[in-house]
């Protein structure tokens, strides 16, 4: 495993998109939250900007920002690390040089696990720091009240990256894969869920779509309070965290299996 991870590191360490995406993530995650400092008064149900920075709600707001950042930067990264190796034909060369197809696939799989772990650790670090500096009285049970957000955050990042890996291996062309990734998450799945599924059956099964489950792992906090949706349809707008977790794990396993199948079957 370390052998494959070190190989990946040699490959991406000087990759421009990797450096750019990492720096953007590292800066933007705390920076976007801190722009909240400029909004003293906020409309209900938030009322004050203090919730952004205080335990335990800092986990929710910082997590929601991270949700967008992971969706963009790490989702893109997982596509790019696969498709560029296809267009440079270096994947083919890696196999010729001696890697097995299984090893090649595993190296990408380990990469997304490690990147997701690091992303979640950085989220935890930022969350603790900001929360610590902005909460007047620190009660540890308050600090940990939403700390389950940290593993959920990891799973969220992993879910995006597994989907990116799947598209990368299946489509192989950077531009088309990136376009489909964006289009699916931002439009296609929404149309499927709200335009088709909900019109046919008004049932909470409309939430069990792969990218919706990923988003619900670390969802926009105050929508939970908006209960118009619940009263209209009789079920919550979000999946329960444990439902979302299982859904993401199942879909990710499926995506990764299909990608693996493709890698072992295709001629290069």
């Amino acid at each position: 495993m370390l052998y494959l991870l070190r190989l990946e590191w040699k490959k991406i360490r000087k990759l421009t998109s990797f450096r750019l995406f990492s720096v953007c993530y590292l800066i933007l995650l705390p920076a976007i939250l801190l722009t909240g400092l400029r909004f003293d008064e906020l409309p209900p149900p938030i009322n004050t900007n203090e919730v952004f920075f205080m335990f335990p709600t800092v986990w929710q707001y910082l997590g929601y920002i991270g949700n967008w950042l992971c969706f963009f930067f790490f989702g893109f990264l997982s596509i790019v690390v696969v498709t560029t190796e296809d267009s440079y034909r270096t994947m083919r060369q890696n196999i010729i040089t001696g890697l097995s197809r299984q090893q090649y696939f595993l190296s990408k799989f380990y990469l997304i696990v490690v990147v997701s772990l690091l992303a979640a650790l950085y989220y935890a670090l930022c969350g603790f720091t900001i929360g610590y500096l902005n909460t007047e009285a620190i009660y540890w049970h308050k600090v940990w009240q939403h700390a389950d957000y940290i593993p959920r955050y990891f799973l969220m990042c992993f879910g995006y990256m597994a989907f990116g890996l799947f598209l990368g291996f299946m489509i192989r062309r950077t531009g088309i894969a990136l376009f489909l990734y964006l289009a699916y998450i931002m439009f296609i799945e929404l149309i499927l869920r709200w335009g088709i599924h909900l019109q046919i059956v008004e049932h909470r099964s409309m939430h069990f779509y792969p990218m919706n489950a990923v988003e619900d792992l670390v969802a926009l906090p105050f929508l939970e309070m908006a209960d118009e949706f619940t009263s209209k349809y009789g079920f919550s707008i979000y999946l329960q965290p444990w439902e979302a977790s299982i859904t993401v794990l199942v879909y990710s396993a499926l995506f990764l299996y299909l990608a693996y199948w493709r890698v072992t079957r295709s001629d290069l």
Partner: protein, 297 residues
Amino acid sequence: MNVLRINGLTKRYGRITAVDELSLEVEQGMAYGILGPNGSGKTTTLGMVLDITHPDSGSFEWFEGQYGRDARRHVGALLETPNFYPYLNAIDNLGIVAHIKQVKAPRFDELLKLVNLYERRTSKFRTYSLGMKQRLAIASAMVGDPEVLIFDEPTNGLDPQGIAEIRNTLQRIAETGKTIIMASHILDEVEKVCSHVAIIKNGHLLASGTVGAIISDDFLVEVAAEDMPGLQTAFETDSRIKKAELQEEGVLLLHLENETPAAAINEWAFSKGHTLSHLRIVKKSLEAEFLEITANQ
């Protein structure tokens, strides 16, 4: 030791059979040329033995199976185009190859000097010319000193100077006694580097054996005179001449066993009563011979 044994390997792309029941054996120490026109199945064959193309049927075995699935780590290969990470320099790119092959102490400087890239070792791969890319590919194939080297069209797309440089490098490697498998459509290249050759066309093996046995190395001379039929009879009956063929251009092509000065041939003709109006020593027409072998099948 048997380095590579290919047994009835077949690959179909739709209706086209790219490689058809191909069998061949490469022994240790051979410089083995796979010769064939473009699209004859050379790269497909190499792709199959290197695990990047799945064969439809048939089998192959590296090193009599002694390394199992790790055999490719003992093979250095360059297939078609040089494939490297364009944003990395020569050292970093070779580093990835060494990492995959698990080479403990790779001697990059030595290799880069061998292929004349030492001065440019810290330039990014994307800034290299085609010839430099090809030379880096040769260096990368040699990382870890593998037991077998595979080159596929190593001089493709290079200028004459680049071709000469690559061929010199290959010859030097072949002389060290390393096993080389080289695919090419250029006969001259195979003849200069290889000891053994297999000729394939449309995925079929047409002939295989030592270069000397497959490719005749007759000394060829073109002659012409006023009385062509007479000249032909005169030379055909001469024991010093192996073969005298009348060519379409109206000249007579003489095949001789050994190199013979033009003056001597002129003298022979004159002694038989023919004054030559044309006398030209033909550079061994290997390409023509190759075309003949592939056309006859």
